[in-house]
């Protein structure tokens, strides 16, 4: 078996390992040591990449997939109709919901006749894939560029409607991820995701 004739290089950066005898200078090791030390010294004067976290925050992408939000429509009614498509699409099975029928006096709370009386996402199960967002036919659930904060108890990671639904006076901006392209893509019935 001739190893040399069947050498395959994918990146052209691979180095052939050799067991050649070291020269006298190489056996002193000191030049190599000094070379190594000059490399570390060059790093000593390089700019640090540290971001001072609580004071300085790393800018997130507009379409970062972080903590979820349940959107209200322009009149402040919940968009979610508890169709269950998000829960169905969720690969981690993190979403659970209970549907309820809207009462006559709740017309300004829920947009359609059916709504989710209970809507929970287990943030420890969630893998932030964004499938719930793609699956939602009502533009009700979105992932945002907010981070899920740490908690002391596991139970505190199960987010209910009190956390997920956006507040009327503190709307969450999702306009960057809800571009016209996204909307037309979602409405395109020829794509498999909407069949």
């Amino acid at each position: 078996m001739n190893q040399d004739s069947t050498k395959i290089s994918l990146t052209n950066r691979s180095k052939v390992v050799s067991n050649k005898k070291m020269t006298l200078l190489e056996r002193f090791y000191l030049p190599a040591v000094l070379k190594g030390m000059s490399i570390t010294l060059s790093h000593f004067f390089k700019r640090e990449v540290t971001i001072q976290y609580p004071e300085v925050k790393r800018p997130f992408s507009d379409i970062y997939r972080g903590m979820h939000v349940l959107k209200l429509d322009d009149e402040g009614r919940e968009r979610c109709t508890a169709c269950g498509l998000c829960a169905l699409s969720c690969p981690a099975e993190a979403i659970t919901m209970i549907a309820a029928e809207r009462k006559e006096d709740e017309k300004d709370l829920y947009r359609e006749e059916k709504y989710a009386s209970k809507y929970e996402i287990n943030m420890l199960r969630c893998i932030f894939c964004g499938d719930c967002e793609s699956a939602c036919p009502k533009e009700a659930i979105f992932l945002t560029n907010r981070i899920v904060p740490s908690q002391y108890k596991r139970i505190d990671f199960i987010y209910g409607k009190d956390v997920l639904v956006e507040k009327k006076d503190a709307r969450v901006d999702v306009s960057k991820r809800q571009t016209p392209e996204v909307l037309t893509f979602k409405q395109d019935k020829s794509k498999s995701h909407n069949k």
């Binding site: 000191l30 040591v33 190594g36 030390m37 490399i39 570390t40 010294l41 790093h43 000593f44 390089k46 700019r47 640090e48 990449v49 540290t50």
Partner: protein, 342 residues
Amino acid sequence: MDIQFVLYKLILCVVILLLSLMIAMYATLAERKVAGFFQDRLGPNRAGIFGLLQPVADGMKLFFKEEFMPANADKVLYILGPSLTMLVALLTSAVIPWGGTLNIGGTEFALQVADVNVGVLYVFAIVSIGVYGIMIGGWASNNKYALMGSVRAASQMISYELAMSMSIVTIVMTTGSLSLNEIVAQQHGMHWNVFTQPIGFVVFLICAFAECNRAPFDLPECDSELIGGYHTEYSSMKLGFYLFSEYINMFISSAMISSLFFGGYDFPFMNDLGLSHNMVTILGTAALFIKITFFGFLFMWVRWTLPRFRYDQLMRFGWKGLMPWAIVNMVLTGFLHLLFKK
């Protein structure tokens, strides 16, 4: 021996003791900072400005940690280990000349605690005791890792002490004195030993790393194989003593290297600037501390550059690498000294 003299020596002792402790304290911070910079990080910077209060926080933490002693440990030796290490680390500073003489009110005050005429021998004697602190601590812990670490420490320190002393012998030969003060005095006017003894310097430097158990010779600690080596079972301030004495040792080694090879408190154009005697002394002490700082930095620089030796490599390097060079250097120096100096 008048009361003034005793009082002065007492003050000098206390000052040097406090100085060693302070420097060791901030060397821990410097180590973490330097490590950070070498790795493109910032290092600790939350406690105080630039993290200047970090050593205080670390010390406080060690004080309030649980004092744990293994059930089967030898109680007396377990406490003796770190105490001995700390004691030995602090003893060496007595013979190092920290500067020239200060002229206060017509009296000359030497900035050296004890001008022993066998200063070099004293240092070696003390450094040899240093290995007992580690040995006793590792043995008393009654733990396999600790024992392994202390056995390694003992064999490593004994092996490297030989080459180290042989490189010093050349200096003693050319100087004709064992007194550190005399060795430094003879290097005045940029006649630094490093120029005449480059091989001796390199050998001594490498051995100093090994004697301090610093990377790449940190096999006694060797976190990845031996957990913590000889101080695996130690906690609270006893562990603090072990870690702290390492930095004191580093400081003293840097001072020794500066004194033996880099002229101690000598600096260029020392006597040509037309400064007063006291001013020259103060500047000289400052120069010595600049040299010490550089060598302290070198200790850290090497630690964050070179990986740890394998044990057989360490032994081979000590006996078959450094020893022959030290002997060759000694013979060569003796030969040339006979040929030219007389």
